[in-house]
């Protein structure tokens, strides 16, 4: 068959495709040219046209236009996005806790890398107070003392007036969620970046806590951080675990090439990072609007903070055991 006959025979079908491909927005779904279940077959037909045109050495004009059509159809068909809201809901109800449990090989080391320096520094700061200044600059420490001093005008920050809550919320989001992302990205340096962020943040927080505890600012400091501590700290740890996962894939790719191992690992790690980022994001709201409330008695703050820790622990231990948490249902 010569080119002109081929074009004549097929051009009506192609026109139908073009009509659909040129439509935009919602029309893409509604104006489907064929019955939806016929689409794969029709698409294979279109691909077949391209292969035939190439095999028969038809003009590049025809081949190029067919190629363009195949490419656009492929983008349309494979570009269909899953229902986003449902996917996120299932992820947080089931997929995320199941993922965190499944990745315990990275979550446990991340927990240790973060909480060991943190916990160790509190007694160290008590018996060797000068050591605090090894990780916290003196002026920063002084600022902290001022913020959490029992006779400070408002706890946890220097001043407090109308716009402060919102301003601090923005600062927490900007700073903490960004740290999550950087902690994950650092995993690409064979995990070293993530390890550094985990240990360093653990040290800073431990030193601050130890320093303020030694000064006796117990209720102001611990009362302030109790509310958001669970979400914020575990969020940071999970971002680090995501980074460790990526770094481990580069160090020990197993039977795969490093690039393939990295790709597979990143696909899982990014889900963990998304969850971690949402936790950090939520922590920012608690930290901005709940933690600094001066009217709330400190006992209630401890109770709420402890309650959140228990809830979070229960969430990660018990949620998502059903089929919805199965990673094979992911994406």
């Amino acid at each position: 068959m010569k080119e002109f006959q081929f074009v004549e025979m097929r051009q009506l079908t192609w026109a139908v495709w073009d009509d659909w491909l040129d439509s935009r927005g919602l029309a893409i779904r509604e104006r489907l040219p064929f019955a939806a279940k016929e689409l794969p077959h029709r698409f294979r037909e279109l691909c077949h046209d391209l292969s035939i045109a190439r095999d028969r050495d038809y003009s590049s004009l025809l081949i190029d236009s067919l190629h363009k059509r195949v490419l656009r159809a492929q983008q349309h068909i494979y570009g269909a996005q899953p229902r986003l809201r449902r996917a996120w809901l299932t992820f947080f109800l089931a997929g995320f806790p199941a993922l965190v449990r499944g990745e315990w090989r990275f979550v446990i080391p991340a927990l240790l890398l973060f909480f060991l320096p943190l916990a160790a520094y509190i007694p160290i700061a008590h018996y060797w107070p000068e050591s605090v200044y090894l990780v916290i600059p003196a002026d920063h420490a002084a600022q902290m003392e001022e913020m959490y001093s029992p006779d400070a005008p408002s706890i946890g920050r220097l001043r407090r007036d109308a716009g402060d809550d919102f301003r601090m919320l923005a600062a927490y989001i900007w700073n903490n969620v960004r740290l999550d992302f950087q902690c994950f990205a650092g995993g690409l340096l064979f995990g070293v970046g993530s390890i550094f962020y985990l240990v360093y943040n653990g040290l800073i927080i431990g030193a601050t806590a130890g320093h303020l505890t030694r000064l006796g600012y117990i209720d102001t400091f611990w009362g302030f951080v109790a509310g958001h501590s669970s979400l914020e700290l575990i969020g940071a740890v999970l971002a680090g675990a995501a980074g460790l996962r990526v770094g481990y894939a580069l160090i020990a790719p197993g039977n795969l090439s490093r690039v393939t191992a990295l790709k597979r690992s990143a696909r899982i790690a990014i889900r963990m990072l998304s969850g971690a980022a949402v936790m950090t994001f939520s922590a920012a709201f608690v930290e901005a609007f709940w933690s600094p409330l001066p009217a709330v008695p400190v006992a209630i703050k401890y109770a709420v903070g402890g309650g959140l820790w228990v809830l979070l622990l229960a969430y990660f231990l018990f949620a998502g055991h059903g089929p919805a948490g199965d990673p094979r249902h992911a994406d």
């Binding site: 190439r54 003009s59 919102f166 969620v177 994950f184």
Partner: protein, 237 residues
């Protein structure tokens, strides 16, 4: 007509061929560092513009304004590339203007997962200054991938297809006087389609070279003859 055999089987090119599950091969034209840097620069200027203008305005609103500026900075730095690439045909505004798009390695459009991976890992590619790591990996890998692209399994391609020339369906045709091999037929068909884009003189000059089909003919006659043969080869009777 002997020079045609010298065309190498695989051309040195930035085309990436992908075999789809539908059993056909599609070619993606991979974008290099320069066009990608240009797209990034456009995005950067756009974001800097938004930040400066909106930031100036918000400065009048005290602490609330300061908070909005920080949230905006966060959105511009992290959400801007991620959401645009995931939900706007794989392109940020800068990429769109440069006719670039991000696709999966297999040619399918990227979703939020791949977009998040390649844009959070930007922090490493940017290291130590102005995409130092990214530039080095781009030159070391096939398809100009920075580390974020490697991890996400994505590739940045040109999405503008060259405009094909319009064929001439009107005039008459004639069969070639000697049997032609497939590459020779192909060459004459290409010539027929592109003759309209060349000047009359140049296309005539080229036609003279196609001996023995056009041996001993004047340049303009040679051109007409070759065009008629081309139309014949495409099936015009």
């Amino acid at each position: 007509m002997t020079g045609l055999a010298a065309i190498p089987a695989t051309l040195i090119d930035t085309v990436r061929n992908v075999d789809t599950p539908e059993g056909c091969r599609i070619s993606l034209r991979v974008a290099g560092p320069v066009s990608r840097a240009r797209a990034w620069l456009i995005d950067f200027l756009f974001r800097a513009g938004v930040y400066l203008t909106v930031g100036q305005f918000l400065a009048f609103f005290g602490k609330i304004g300061g908070g909005v500026v920080l949230i905006m900075l966060f959105a511009l730095e992290w959400l801007y590339p991620t959401l645009f690439e995931a939900y706007w045909r794989g392109a940020t505004p800068g990429k769109y203007l440069c006719k670039l798009a991000v696709l999966h390695d297999n040619g399918t459009p990227i979703g939020i997962g791949a977009s998040l991976i390649r844009n959070t890992l930007r922090a490493i590619d940017f290291f130590p200054l102005f995409y130092g790591v990214g530039a080095v990996t781009m030159f070391l890998t096939k398809d100009y991938k920075r580390l974020g692209d490697l991890a996400a399994g994505t590739v940045v391609v040109y999405c503008d297809e060259p405009v094909p020339p319009k064929p001439d369906h009107s005039s008459e045709s004639e069969p070639p006087s000697i049997p032609l091999t497939v590459p020779e037929q192909r060459a004459i068909i290409e010539y027929t389609l592109r003759a309209g884009q060349l000047t009359q003189e140049r296309s005539a000059e080229l036609a003279v070279l196609a001996t023995p089909l056009t041996a001993g003919m004047t340049a303009d006659h040679a051109r007409e003859r070759l065009l008629r043969i081309g139309r014949f080869l495409m099936g015009k009777r």
